[in-house]
């Protein structure tokens, strides 16, 4: 059996590799090439060199979107993870109804981003209307609106990962700490959290990349209003691509910059949290 697998493994890889090639590698390579071109459709590209990149970096809205997104990713990183961890801790104590609560917290994650954005827009504007304000009038309303809706959606998901992590911590470690006289606080910071580092690595990676990649909620909740002040990177790329004649390549160039950025940040974050993981 093992021999057979050793010999025929490429056959088993064919379907996945084909899908990966068609859905991932080819579009990515094309994207890189197109960022150096001017084009109307992807099949009639004309090479123009680095012009698109120069334009991308000269765009003040892109730079604003950059730091606005970075701030968003940072704030959502902390809020989502702290809340998710706290809820996971609460729901692993032996209290009645934990399964129900886990389900309830996880549910928002099943709703698509666009729908979620529109629903929250109605709620926020409904509340803000009482004070004669609206989401589209202030970039910070939009910012906190995004934070709230994204947290609402993602906390449940991260909670599940944290719960899995918490349940895999051997009970004897906790018990040993308790016998040694550690209080609840000390057990949390010196036993639970160090043991949870693998989960924390995953969750921080997911939240920070999700923060940078956020598109659907941004589109449906604020659409960049007022005057592109709440436009994040992904939406800015999209708007650049379709907003002006001849700027498709610039949108593509921004997408490449965006890719490099997310990969770099993801790598740094992985390295930072990995080094803190302990052997079980």
């Amino acid at each position: 059996m093992e021999k057979a697998i050793k010999r025929y493994w490429p056959i088993f890889l064919i379907p996945t590799m084909a899908a990966f090639l068609i859905g991932f590698i080819v579009p990515f390579a094309m994207g890189l090439w197109l960022s150096l071109c001017e084009f109307t459709t992807v099949t009639d590209a004309v090479f123009v060199g680095l012009k698109n990149y120069i334009r991308a970096f000269q765009d003040p809205v892109f730079l604003h979107a950059f730091w606005y997104t970075a701030l968003f990713a940072l704030v959502s990183l902390f809020i989502i993870n702290i809340f998710a961890f706290a809820i996971a801790l609460a729901l692993t104590q032996n209290v009645p109804g934990t399964n129900l609560f886990r389900t309830v917290f996880f549910l928002p994650n099943l709703i698509g981003g666009i729908v979620l954005g529109y629903i929250w827009q109605l709620i926020f504007n409904g509340v803000l209307a009482k004070y004669n304000a609206a989401l589209a009038l202030n970039e910070w309303y939009g910012f906190w609106g995004l934070i709230i809706s994204v947290s609402w959606q993602q906390i449940g998901y991260m909670m599940i990962i944290y719960i899995a992590g918490l349940q895999s911590i051997p009970e004897d470690l906790q018990e040993a700490a308790r016998i040694d006289g550690a209080n609840a606080r000390q057990r949390l910071f010196h036993v639970t959290i160090p043991m949870m580092m693998p989960s924390i690595t995953i969750c921080t990676f997911l939240t920070i990349t999700n923060g940078f990649k956020l598109f659907d909620q941004n589109l449906s909740l604020t659409a960049g209003e007022p005057s592109k002040m709440s436009e994040m990177l992904a939406l800015n790329i999209y708007n650049t691509f379709y907003g002006r004649v001849g700027w498709e390549g610039v949108g593509q160039a921004k997408a490449v910059v965006f890719f490099v950025l997310v990969v770099a940040i993801g790598m740094i974050q992985l390295r930072l949290t990995r080094t803190r993981e302990v052997q079980q």
């Binding site: 697998i5 459709t41 005057s227 001849g246 700027w247």
Partner: protein, 481 residues
């Protein structure tokens, strides 16, 4: 064991091949014979064989019939990427009808509202690209001109009632406008009379201002407002950032005697402010809430008689028809320019048909034939122009005014109102918004208008002016370098 694995591998490889076969089918033009042969290779050979035989017999019979009818028995096909979601059903039906009549395959795809450009981009990159598509004027044409077949001398070009409706790219005819539309201030006659006025009381901006401010002052007593909400939600903001913004652009072009510019001066922006102030401060809702109001909100307010005026065009007739034909009127949008008593409604087109130059010769010919059929045949023109039961199936038609010689008299009351203005000798306002430099420009003006509505200071109006004037120059430069 090994044998089993081997056979599994073989099965996997084979099924992959099958998948590839399915994918290839779409590209294959011989649609009729293709499907049966593939079925035949599959398991139930015997059973299907008989059926296929029958089918192919039928097909050949049909085809010979068609050829006997023999009008346009070309082997090309038509693929129309339609811009107007409102008319999707009608186009589908017309396409089916045409196929039945002539045997030429016509496929109609309608892009969802607001996604035409992205749909067109991806469809054009495919092997089976649209043969017939739309651009909305010179700015979009700049992006697609390499794809536009020169329509000069074609049958449909010769059918045009005026050469003004041809979209030129240098000397070649890149597009042909196929529908003329008109917008203005649609109003509710009964409500206006209830407030004590008639259309004759409104001849210029001063009158309009007087009437609407009077209605606002007596709002509680009357039970309705002057204007429907000027919603700045994307479903409605084009009425102001594009259509209303056309007014100052039109007057500036008139004053400077130009029809396109790389830098707008904003001569009439104070007028733009006047009319915008009037819209937002005499409306059904607080101006601070406009960013949340949608197009549907405005329609609802209008048909439930909460407001007298509703800025929109002939295409909106179906939305407001429940008020009754006798109750609907249309006023020009007065913005307070000298001599505007003679101004009519805003009439023009932003729907140009273009034929894909990169399509097959046969497909181009089929497309040209189809277009020509739409605007000359009895069924085609009736479907395009008629309203009640104008489609072959008895459904409602598209209600267009078409700029072709065979245009039928319209049954759309709003269109007839527009014609009355022309008959009275009023000058129609042309659609200059197709010269706006980019979508980005419109969005910039729209955002600034929203902010200004919420907080109506001179400073915030300056932001509108900046977006309008400086934004124009910047966007023009960005799109043309």
């Amino acid at each position: 064991m090994r044998k089993k694995l081997l056979s599994l591998g073989v099965v996997a490889a084979l099924s992959l091949g099958l998948l590839a076969g399915c994918g290839g089918k779409n590209n294959n033009e011989n649609k009729e014979t293709d499907a049966p042969t593939q079925e035949a290779t599959e398991a139930q050979e015997k059973e299907t064989e008989k059926e296929t035989e029958k089918e192919t017999e039928k097909e050949t019979e049909k085809e010979t019939e068609k050829e006997d009818d023999g009008e346009t028995a070309s082997d090309g096909s038509v693929y129309y990427l339609n811009f107007k979601p409102e008319q999707d059903l009608q186009w589908q039906e017309l396409a089916e009808y045409y196929t039945r009549e002539t045997g030429v395959e016509v496929k109609v795809l309608t892009a969802a509202s607001g996604t035409y450009e992205s749909t067109l981009k991806s469809e054009m990159a495919k092997t089976d690209s649209p043969t017939l598509f739309q651009v909305n004027g010179p700015v979009r044409l700049a992006a697609w001109k390499d794809y536009c077949y020169d329509l000069k001398g074609s049958d449909i070009y010769n059918e045009l009632s005026s050469e003004d409706f041809a979209l030129m790219d240098g000397d070649s005819v890149a597009g042909i406008g196929y529908v003329i539309e008109t917008y203005g201030l649609i109003y509710n006659k009964a409500l206006l009379e209830e407030a004590g006025y008639t259309q004759d009381d409104i001849k210029n901006f001063e009158d309009l201002k007087k009437v609407s401010e009077d209605i606002t002052a007596r709002k509680d007593e009357l039970g309705f407002s002057a204007f429907t909400s000027s919603g700045m939600d994307p479903s409605s903001d084009w009425r102001f950032k594009t259509h209303l913004a056309n007014m100052p652009i039109y007057y500036e072009y008139q004053a400077d005697n130009i029809d396109v510019t790389d830098a707008i001066k904003g001569t009439y922006l104070d007028n733009y402010r006047q009319i915008w102030d009037l819209y937002i401060n005499n409306a059904t809702c607080d101006p601070g809430l406009l960013s949340t109001k949608t197009g549907d909100d405005a329609v609802a307010e209008f048909v439930t008689e909460q407001a007298v005026f509703y800025q929109n065009g002939t295409w909106a007739y179906n939305d407001v028809s429940e008020l009754g034909e006798e109750n609907l009127g249309m006023l020009p949008i007065y913005i307070g320019v000298e001599g505007e008593e003679n101004q009519g409604l805003c009439t023009g087109t932003e729907n140009y048909w273009c034929v894909n130059k990169k399509a097959d010769e046969a497909d181009i010919q089929a497309t040209l034939d189809f277009m020509n059929w739409c605007v000359t045949s009895e069924v085609g023109t009736k479907a395009l122009c008629g309203v009640d039961a104008a489609m072959p199936s008895g459904d409602d038609g598209m209600g267009f005014v078409i700029p072709f010689k065979k245009n039928l008299e319209s049954e759309n009351p709003l269109v007839n109102l527009a014609n009355e203005y022309v008959a009275e000798g009023k000058t129609p306002v042309s659609w200059n918004f197709s010269t706006m430099p980019s979508e980005e420009w419109k969005n910039g003006v729209g955002s600034a208008l929203t902010s200004y509505a919420a907080d109506q200071t001179d400073e915030n109006w300056e932001a509108v002016v900046t977006a309008f004037v400086d934004g124009w120059a910047e966007e023009y430069a960005a799109s043309n370098s």
